[in-house]
Homo-oligomer: 315 residues x 2
């Protein structure tokens, strides 16, 4: 297969597949567009959790045990912050802080999030393009049984406990795709779009909510293939299954297929869900069943390879 | 002695005497007004080095070996900052960062530096009033043989190597004393003003440059007593002696007395400089000679006590 691959990506699960894709594809053949709906201003710092997760994962700096943040991270800042009476509900590690401080300073100086992400990624030795979905602020907000909560308040502060009634992407209507995402979407040599196994509602929908992205995807001639983040009716990580249930959807690979219907030509599911193949095929979506759990680097490469295989098969 | 004491204070040396004063005087009898001419914006954070030195010293958190910053400090942030290509000429420790991040956030939210300093000091268990000289920005700028340098660029970045031709306090003309400093200066029960052994040019002159401070000191009925930071023709720490020489002044206790002439009624000098007693007395300034080197807490209390003795003797 030749041509360019565009990956749409959220946090941890998506970053793992992006890692595999970046191992299999040279930098000029891959664009990783990342959700920024989770971004927020905390303690006066601009935090971009999904971008950082992807950057740290590709740079092999992530903590694999804890599942977020940096390996070997220390917490002197948080400890001092608590002593000084600052807000401690969101953890910022000492090493991680450098990213937030530099990003915040450069945003204040007028640099775009795209450019900042590129230079900070390059400083960590990354050569693949990790790009924000947009350079304008889009903020995910949750309507819940305890009121309207900014995303991180729901996700970290409340540990996803509130029952979600609706999800909004504030600012999306005024945003536009980042230059790199827009360019990837309009490439003549676009060979495929891969929707990484990220939360469809919280990580991928914000990207699709940026004006022009969904319509561009609908026009794309190349296959669009997703990897299901729902395995055996549950999410490997995060609130996807709980959220789907609260929104009246039974969590399943089929529900993921239905969520992306109109965009997808293929879906990679776990073998445990192989019984759903016919239901998904009925939606006009080709299915590839495999071991979709990524435990180590080998899994990441294998699943990325199998996803690219499905893209190739559907071309 | 009853009544209130106002201490004017810069960084390390001044903070040591302030520590002693705070041990000897209850909170309602002491105001410590601190130089903010060294303050600067770094990496988008507002750093107040002298305030932090005084706060950390009074809270017994200072690193006594390194002479600045916090004991047990860690440097993961700086290491990450360097890796990301950020500016590393000014060290910000992981624990120290909490102070800068909180202060910056609260300044942006419109709180005064006075109020922020009070609440952060209280969070560290301090009950004495540590107040900035002003809530408006005053920035010390050095005219040197390599051009005009903001203070921290000269002091930390260039390690005081450039030859200083003149010192400016930008913004001073537009600043006013902080409420707490203004109130201390006009107290009916003001029993004395103590100029701590800080750099006269870099730490005390900025305070005197705030409109109204010098004239108020000239009107104060109570004694004004300084502790000489020059001992045996040298500064215990920092560039005071080098700076005096560059400005055409022979570094000595007498030169300190002359610098503050018109304000001082007394000067505490080291016994090594006792030969200067007559020259200082000729300026109309009473002299008390003692061991003016503060090595441990005992020295701090003793020197603070002897300084208060001179205030009392001159009342």
């Amino acid at each position: 297969m030749t041509g360019h691959i565009l990956a749409l990506c959220g946090g941890v699960g998506g970053a793992k597949l992006a890692f595999g894709l970046a191992r299999l594809l040279p930098p000029d053949r891959l664009t990783i567009a990342v959700n920024t709906g989770d971004d927020f201003e905390h303690l006066g710092l601009h935090v971009s959790p999904d971008i950082d997760t992807v950057v740290y994962t590709l740079a092999r700096l992530s903590d694999r045990v804890r599942g977020w943040g940096l390996a070997g991270e220390t917490w002197a800042f948080m400890s001092a912050l608590g002593r000084l009476g600052g807000e401690t509900w969101f953890n910022l590690g000492d090493t991680d802080l450098a990213m937030h401080v530099l990003r915040t300073q450069r945003l204040r100086d007028g640099e775009t999030l795209s450019r900042i992400t590129a230079t900070l990624g390059a400083a960590l030795g990354l050569s693949h393009a990790i790009v924000p979905m947009s350079d304008q602020p889009v903020r995910t907000v949750m309507d819940t049984d305890v009121g309207r909560l900014p995303f991180q308040r729901y996700f970290v502060g409340e540990q996803c406990r509130p029952v979600v009634r609706a999800i909004h992407f504030e600012g999306a209507a005024q945003a536009s795709p980042s230059d790199a995402l827009a360019q990837a979407l309009s490439r003549q040599d676009l060979a495929g779009v891969i929707i990484c196994p990220s939360n469809p509602y919280l990580s991928v929908d914000p990207i699709l909510a940026v004006p022009g992205v969904r319509s561009a995807l609908e026009r794309v001639a190349a296959p669009i293939v997703a990897v299901s983040p729902i395995i055996g009716g549950a999410a490997l990580k995060g609130p996807a299954a709980k959220l789907m249930a609260e929104l009246g959807v039974t969590p399943s690979a089929t529900a993921v297929a239905r969520h992306y219907q109109g965009l997808l030509s293929g879906l990679v599911i776990d073998t445990i869900d192989v019984g759903e193949t016919a239901a998904i095929a009925d939606l006009g979506i080709a299915v590839s069943a495999t071991d979709a759990v990524m435990t180590d680097d080998g899994d990441r490469l294998r699943l990325a390879g199998e996803t690219l295989d499905l893209v190739r098969a559907l071309a």
